[in-house]
Amino acid sequence: MEPDAAGTVPSAEEVRDTTDPHTATEVPRTHAVTIGRDRSLAVSPAGSIAAWPAEIRQPLREPHPPARSFNVGDRLFSWLTAAFAGLILAVIAVMIATLAWQSRVTIQLYGLSFLYTSTWDPVHNVFGAAPAILGTVYTSLLALLLAAPIGVMVAIFLVEMAPRRVRTSLGFVVELLAAVPSIVYGLWALIVLVPLVRDHIQPPLIDHFGNTPFFSGYPIGLGVFTASLILSIMILPTIASISRDVMLAVPNSQRDAMLALGATRWETTWKVVVPYARSGIIGAIVLALGRAVGETMAVQMVIGNTQSFNLSLFNFGTTMPATIVNQFTEATGETYLSALIELALILMIVTIILNAIARLLVWRVTRVAGS
């Protein structure tokens, strides 16, 4: 078929403008046939858009309903999987509901002020969560500050620099690190990190920066700094391995394009790979933040456990999970128990939100590569 007159056949771009993007690549075959040796016939001049009907005439019939499976097994299976998926949601909902119910005493008693008052006095039954919340935020952010750059660099090394064999074996080791139980990290921190910090890190820092609010105090070893340090080691594998997966999902065609422009590996990494994977890398960091916020044993073992918050990294402190694990067995009285459970509720909500954000960010990068 030939276009009957110049101006009635839209060019490819115009077809695209008026149709939905998914069908847009399907240029009508009738136009395709006109392309050949005779170029004069092939494409009508620009400006013919007016000839394209502005309103799409609806077809005569409605679409048929989607096909249903007639296989009993199939249908049973799809119901079953849906039921399990629903069950998981239900478990989460039930957990939040029970935590909220069990902490109703302090929720009613303090309302929002529970979040920002800082007296935690079981003897007089007064509870404010500010030290635990601030302590959690402080240690977690500090851990991120240390772990994020190193984790991303490790991922870059694994994906962009290391030979395949090193990538596989080192990647394996990184994942092993993530599997070490946190009590082991805690013990190791007590045995190795605490003396190291006390003898070799704190004295010089206190000498030089002791007059700033961040490094004042005594070289004890235990405290917020050491807790952040062990946390950063614990979340490093998360950041490194997820960033690695995300960067592996960056198509090689992207690297090729940059390299072919005369970019070095280094330039390609920073100008193409990292920007492409950016949201996934941020996702990895947020996920690690979620881990840090919820981490219990290792932190509790080295943070010193005082219900106060201080800017100084060398002070004792606490976090939400550390407070709970430290005090739950000795918590007597309705209010005390309720306060601890409310901490758990806050913790759960925060980690769910952080995880959801992280998954979303990671998925945004990997979904493209997966399709």
Partner: protein, 258 residues
């Protein structure tokens, strides 16, 4: 003005696997040379040997000499990064950088090499490149928008503009239209004709009609029973398609295999 590209005994390996063997051919400036042959015969591999992109793949090696102009790009002391910067390459699937705008995509190369001294020069270079890629009028009002918002054909022309912004002597295209619809392909083919006025154009295609339409010279490659690609026949396009000397070329162009 394009540069002559001459391959002397070019062989290429992926690890221990030999992919192409002893390729000898000279590709002329201001002409379009097409590399044709069945899938897997080493067309892409050979093309990537020209600008030293082959070595980007881990354990990939090249033997032989490749002259681009009066430089052997495989002689000792030649920086592959510089070789690539002096050659434009366009790939099978449009691969604009999704995190960059149309402008930034085209400006990516010049920014790397620092060849423009200021914003004004860069603007001019970007415009010139987009004009050469026959895309300027379609995108001049949306230079700040992401390149991935364009159609497939436009994206491929962005990639061509990006390659041209390097002001290369040689433009290498690896099946640049195989992911495009016929109309978009047609526009790219038309562009080839303009490009050869300024560059040496070398294009891989497995579409014989395309080669016949646009190429001045055609090289036919084929992998034999040992799966190693070789140059079978190289001549002006007319000869290859009307009076090929080699039986295998004839079989291929008459559609008897491949």
């Amino acid at each position: 003005m394009g540069a002559t590209v001459r391959a002397e005994d070019i062989s290429a390996w992926y690890g221990k696997k030999l992919a192409i063997r002893d390729m000898n051919l000279e590709m002329k400036p201001n002409k379009v040379t097409a590399l044709i042959g069945p899938s897997g015969c080493g067309k892409s591999t050979f093309l990537r040997c020209i600008n030293r992109m082959h070595e980007v793949i881990p354990a990939a090696r090249v033997g032989g000499d490749m002259w681009v102009g009066d430089q052997n790009v495989y002689s000792r002391g030649v920086d592959p990064v510089k070789v690539r910067a002096q050659t434009g390459m366009v790939f099978q699937r449009p691969n604009p950088f999704p995190t960059m705008s149309i402008y930034d995509n085209v400006a990516a190369g010049p920014r790397l090499s620092g060849k423009t001294r200021n914003k004004k020069e860069l603007d001019a270079l970007v415009e010139r490149s987009l004009r050469r890629a026959a895309l300027w009028h379609e995108v001049k009002d949306r230079l700040k928008e992401p390149a991935t918002g364009l159609s497939g054909g436009q994206q491929q022309r962005i990639c061509i503009a990006r390659a041209l912004a390097m002001e290369p002597g040689v433009v290498l295209l690896d099946e640049p239209t195989s992911a495009l619809d016929p109309i978009a392909s047609y526009k790219i083919e038309e562009l080839m004709n303009d490009l050869k006025e300024e560059y040496t154009v070398i294009i891989v295609t497995h579409n014989m009609q395309q080669a016949a339409r646009i190429a001045d010279f055609t090289a036919f490659m084929l992998a034999g029973e040992d799966f190693v690609g070789e140059l079978i026949e190289y001549a002006d396009t007319k000869t290859i398609f009307s009076t090929p000397k080699d039986k295998r070329t004839e079989d291929y162009i008459t559609g008897r295999f491949g």
